[in-house]
């Protein structure tokens, strides 16, 4: 094993305890880094108290740690202010928050533009908004390789387009979205841009100001942090204009029988006790990520992607989904083998120590556009190396032997 990867693997408790495991499902959930786990345990055992409610020392310590977590998330995204960071339970909750809060400012006939390549979590909330308010929902199509086809973008934005909500990187094909082109077109049309960064964040810190988007959503469990935590970043002026999504404690200014006023963002969007320890664990993961040499990691991830794609291309009756060039995609590689079902493929691979996901990957519209009902997906993260790829390619030989 590559020494750098070996050192990285040792920092992930599950991988350190399972040296024979070839974990290739980080697009679903990345493994948790020891720093994140330690931060959660440290918080729960030394600072556990509710936040923004108590005046005793323990509560003050919890408040401070929670505030620092928000600042870490802001640094990770290069946000202008920590007040632009809203903690949620995950990317799905963050996307639903925008669909409800920003969505409530839209009128019947206003257009929201999404893409065929969206995960269901950035698809279904907009269908639900359409049902509630009569917005018009339109789709950016995909090309045969799953990349967003932006040829008709200006035309799609012509009709009262208020928001473009798209993935930064497909969870099926790994295809990167041309965010700059979408942002430029949206600015022309006066539309806002929401970027679903769920798949992008495990491949390095982001810069929301350079991206030029208006909202950015991601999950902690996909960037080496705990589950049950996510982030919505929104431009301060937009968050300030949005009504709350959920009502409850912590999000109010004053409550009387006749009227309730709202707290300022981000608290306005964090009703109830937030996921405190999870936010602190996420911050530890993000702080660790910000210390890494990302150009080197990207180069290694891309080499592994190329190795996998080259190996898969040699397998008969196997169709690769997504862009042919590894440079055009995150190291997420989905494929379909004629006559073999992804569930069966993944079951046999599991018996060879390989963890991969098979199914529709919560992206049924994309799979329909690609002409498959289900597919098998290998997703590569910073702790994978060539041995994982070789094991997968060997495992696929065993798959065919066992299933046919």
């Amino acid at each position: 094993m590559n020494a750098a990867v070996s050192a990285l693997r040792g920092q992930f408790p599950l991988l350190a305890a399972a040296p024979g495991l070839h974990y290739l499902d980080s697009a679903a959930t990345a493994q948790i880094h020891r720093a994140a786990l330690d931060a959660v345990i440290r918080h729960e055992t030394t600072r556990r108290a509710n936040v923004m409610r108590g005046t005793y020392a323990l509560a003050e310590a919890a408040d401070q740690a929670f505030d620092q977590a928000r600042q870490s998330a802001a640094r990770f995204l290069n946000a202008g202010s920590a007040d632009e960071i809203v903690f949620t339970s995950g990317a799905t909750a963050a996307l639903n928050l925008v669909a409800h809060a920003f969505g409530s400012t839209l009128k019947a006939g206003d257009r929201v533009l999404i893409s065929v390549a969206e995960h269901h979590s950035n698809f279904v909330p907009w269908q639900m908004l359409r049902e509630r308010t009569g917005i018009e929902l339109a789709l950016i199509p995909v090309a045969a390789d799953g990349v967003l086809d932006l040829a008709r973008l200006a035309e799609l934005m012509r009709s009262r387009c208020r928001l473009v909500a798209v993935t930064q990187c497909s969870n099926v094909t790994g295809a990167w979205t041309d965010v700059a082109a979408i942002v430029a077109a949206a600015r022309q049309a006066g539309a806002r841009v929401l970027l679903d960064g769920a798949q992008a964040v495990q491949h390095g810190p982001q810069d929301v100001r350079a991206l030029g988007v208006d909202f950015y959503a991601f999950s902690g469990h996909k960037c080496f942090g705990p589950g049950g935590i996510g982030v919505l970043w929104g431009r301060a002026e937009l968050l300030a204009q949005m009504p709350p999504f959920l009502g409850g404690g912590g999000m109010i200014g004053e409550v009387t029988f006749d009227n309730t006023t709202w707290a300022a963002p981000p608290q306005r969007f964090e009703a109830g006790t937030p996921p405190i320890a999870q936010a602190i664990g996420l911050a530890a993961a993000l702080d660790w990520m910000m210390t890494l040499d990302w150009p080197q990691i990207h180069a290694r991830e891309q080499r592994l992607g190329e190795l996998l794609i080259e190996g898969l291309q040699r397998i008969p009756q196997l169709r690769l989904l997504g862009p042919a060039a590894a440079a055009s995609r995150a190291p997420i590689v989905a494929f379909d083998i004629e006559g073999l079902h992804p569930h069966d493929i993944c079951q046999v691979l599991d018996s060879n120590g390989l963890a991969l996901r098979g199914g529709h990957h919560c992206a049924q519209p994309l799979l329909a556009a690609l002409g498959v009902d289900a597919c098998t997906r290998a997703s590569i993260a910073l702790y994978n190396d060539a041995a994982d790829i070789e094991a997968l390619l060997d495992g696929l030989v065993e798959v065919r032997r066992m299933l046919t």
Binding site: Q127, R130, P342, D344, S351, G359, P365, A374, M402
Partner: protein, 159 residues
């Protein structure tokens, strides 16, 4: 990590390959489509009845080997049974998969699915055709196709 070779034995592969009952009936008394929302597997099943017993069955199954083997087994064995008998077999299969029972004695072929006990996530693959058949039988006389996911969730306007 489990050894999958016990699961993918010849009996299951051959039963799936045979695809007994695959196709469509010209005239059905009841039909249903059941999806597994987790993986997108889909079973569409049609039945014709004579005096309350299945006289013909046809299915169109898109799914894994386990799902296709279970659908094929129904295609081979369901004729002659009434709704109560199918329910008893389906529930017996469910109990067998959960490890609580040896399996329905009248359908010894179901023993081929015993290795699936070790894989809880695959139980629904085996059960999907049986639950689809039960739904189709429940629709007899209703004059409509049941379209449902396993959790019967449906979003208006969803694709």
């Amino acid at each position: 990590m489990n050894d999958a070779s016990a699961l993918y034995q010849d009996a299951i592969k051959q039963m799936a390959q045979a695809a007994h009952g695959h196709g469509q009936l010209e005239s059905a008394d009841g039909e249903a489509r059941l999806d597994n929302p987790l993986c997108g597997d889909r079973v569409r099943i049609q039945v014709a009845l004579d005096s309350g017993r299945i006289s013909a069955i046809a299915h169109q199954t898109k799914g894994c080997l386990l799902c296709r083997a279970a659908a094929s087994l129904l295609g081979a064995r369901a004729v002659g049974h009434n709704a109560a008998a199918i329910e008893a077999v389906a529930d017996g299969l469910d109990a067998m998969l959960k490890g609580a029972a040896p399996g329905p004695a009248a359908w010894p072929e179901l023993a081929m699915f015993v290795p699936a006990r070790a894989y809880a996530s695959r139980h629904r693959c085996v059960l999907l055709p049986f639950r689809a058949l039960q739904a189709a039988l429940g629709k007899v006389g209703a004059g409509a196709t049941a379209n449902a996911t396993e959790n019967h969730g449906e979003i208006k306007g969803a694709r």
